[in-house]
Symmetry: C2
Subunit: 347 residues, 2 copies
């Protein structure tokens, strides 16, 4: 029989319906990547992120260089952050509200903000699962640097750092990249999560995420891997097969304030998890997102930054859209066990 | 420049970013359906919903027959509602909560409910855009009949009626069908929409949906079509290109209570809109969902049942998942104008 599970953080409900299920290994497919067929060559020629195409991207807001490069020649970049050519939001002084209809019924606001692309590596066919660890460390460093710069800009209220991997996850561009969007509003859903966390803190004096980590470690069955500073797990209330959360052991509300030790460790655990998905499922399409408090000045005893990875193995359909209940066909205990057993270079 | 728009009903925000946009006609693609190639023949042979396969579906909970059929022979069905073979929720007496972890941290509940499939037509390659109007009327009648039966069952709190059309919208089965799921909970997101509607009613003494209809009719620019009882429009705060809402002019909270005249008229407007999408975009994948109050006994002056159609023309990606802000690349004014100009058989 299926069961309903509640996310204690958001109070969302999920149906876990193993009757409709595939076994974890049935999600595996054979996607061959990195082969240099003619099509792949063409893809590289037109890619705007490959070396040699720097000018087409506009001026970089951040560049990292390869160690030892540039001696007697042009330095070679290892990572670049550039403005998005088709930005969702654009730089501007301040937001203003313009209404439409009687009684100001419809509210609109000019799209002020920032939309940047992190070009993660010079090589077109690299991906996090195949990159050297230092490259992944560089990606995380760039997230932190840009977060710190953007959060101080006027009109910026929320920073969303995310990576879309593959067409089903919303990107057709294979060159490894992430995106950063700084928006001038804190949506109600984000406020709702924080309100729930505050309510939990009021009752228990604890951070709900800290409590969740503690409980999951003691239960054990949904843990995929652990490092000194992080735990990776399939949440009890997983919305989709192989949903994975990476949470820091140390309570901290803002991602921008993590220590150098944690940064290094995060690169390791992120590479490890993405590599398990890559090996175990055949390089699945996925999205990952970093969740951090939008309230920078607050000590925020109640909120805990973390990273969520959602492999795109099924489509959100009419039931989810109509009821706001997710339908997951595979239990997180099963997917955690499957991913845990996969050996990666750094596990 | 892009702009942010707020949904006054949910307080959600959407970014309308025409800089990233395609023109409405660029969403059109050529999907050839209904041809009887060898592959299509095979599809029909294995289809569990085609006539002759009735027994494999389990006993129907509702059957409509073709007029005049059965004289001297087996009556022929025109529509059947059957239990889903792989149900998300299954019939059971009552729900109970079982907790996991210290302090009852994780809550689960047995998956009690109903999951039914409406087999909309005997012919495998029919779809709403190509069916005779009476067949669409039959579909709506079946929704109402099943809604009325299921809502009175113990443990049923919410009924979700939805249609997934095409693989990107979550179904690989082409035989025309909808689904009905009766679930034992009212999720927080549904309660939130109702709370916002109550708040609006408290302040203004009006139903927010009635007000929206009035405003859209007076503005005109997002209306796609109007009938005696319904209006079809692209909402101001459309989350995706070609999002369309069909709203009844008459205030009524529960879908189950619509009149026969409205039922007939709804079949017309639904066929009309789906036909416009079919012609204008080349039979796009889409989901539609019926939103109705979960509080049956309440007169509900504040809530207004309606139907939402979301064509699946792009993927929800990391930004939406991370920020809860939708990013729509085409303005609803433009898509409404495009759909409005398309001629259908019944427009």
């Amino acid at each position: 029989m299926s069961e309903l599970r509640q996310n204690p953080i958001t109070k969302d409900w999920v149906i876990i319906a193993p009757e409709r299920s595939k076994r974890p290994d049935q999600f595996k497919h054979d996607k061959v990547q990195g082969k240099t067929t003619k099509q792949d060559m063409e893809e590289r020629v037109t890619c705007p992120f490959c070396p040699g195409k720097e000018e087409s991207c506009g001026e970089a807001v951040l560049t990292y260089y390869q160690e030892g490069s540039g001696k007697g020649g042009q330095p070679k970049w290892s990572l670049r952050v550039v403005p998005n050519k088709f930005p969702a939001l654009v730089e501007g002084k301040e937001t203003s509200r313009i209404t439409e209809g009687a009684g100001n019924f419809f509210i609109r606001m000019n799209g002020v903000g920032y939309h940047e692309v992190v070009i993660e590596h010079p090589e077109h066919f690299q991906t996090i699962a195949t990159m050297p660890l230092e490259a992944v460390e560089g990606i995380i460093s760039s997230y932190i640097e840009r977060y710190q710069v953007l959060i101080d800009r006027p009109s910026v209220e929320l920073i969303t750092i995310f990576r879309n991997n593959g067409p089903r996850a919303g990107t057709s561009l294979r060159h490894p990249h992430s995106q950063i969007i700084a928006s001038p509003i804190i949506p109600i859903q984000i406020r709702h999560v924080i309100e729930e966390a505050v309510r939990y803190f009021d009752t228990t004096g604890k951070c709900i995420y800290c409590n969740m980590i503690e409980q999951e470690k003691s239960l054990g069955k949904r843990i995929i891997s652990e490092t000194e500073h992080f735990v990776a797990l399939a949440p009890f209330f997983s919305r989709s097969p192989f949903e994975t959360w990476i949470l820091p052991n140390k309570h901290r509300a803002s991602f921008a304030k993590i220590s150098d030790m944690e940064k290094k460790d995060l690169a390791g655990v992120l590479t490890d998890i993405i590599s398990r998905l890559y090996k175990g499922l055949g390089d699945p399409d996925y999205n990952y997102m970093i969740y951090s408090t939008p309230y920078q000045e607050d000590p925020a005893d109640y909120y805990h930054w973390h990273l969520q990875i959602l492999p795109k193995l099924y489509e959100v359909a009419g039931f989810e859209l109509g009821s706001s209940i997710y339908l997951n066909t595979t239990s997180p205990e099963e997917t955690a066990r499957y991913l845990k057993e996969i050996k990666t270079d750094i596990s």
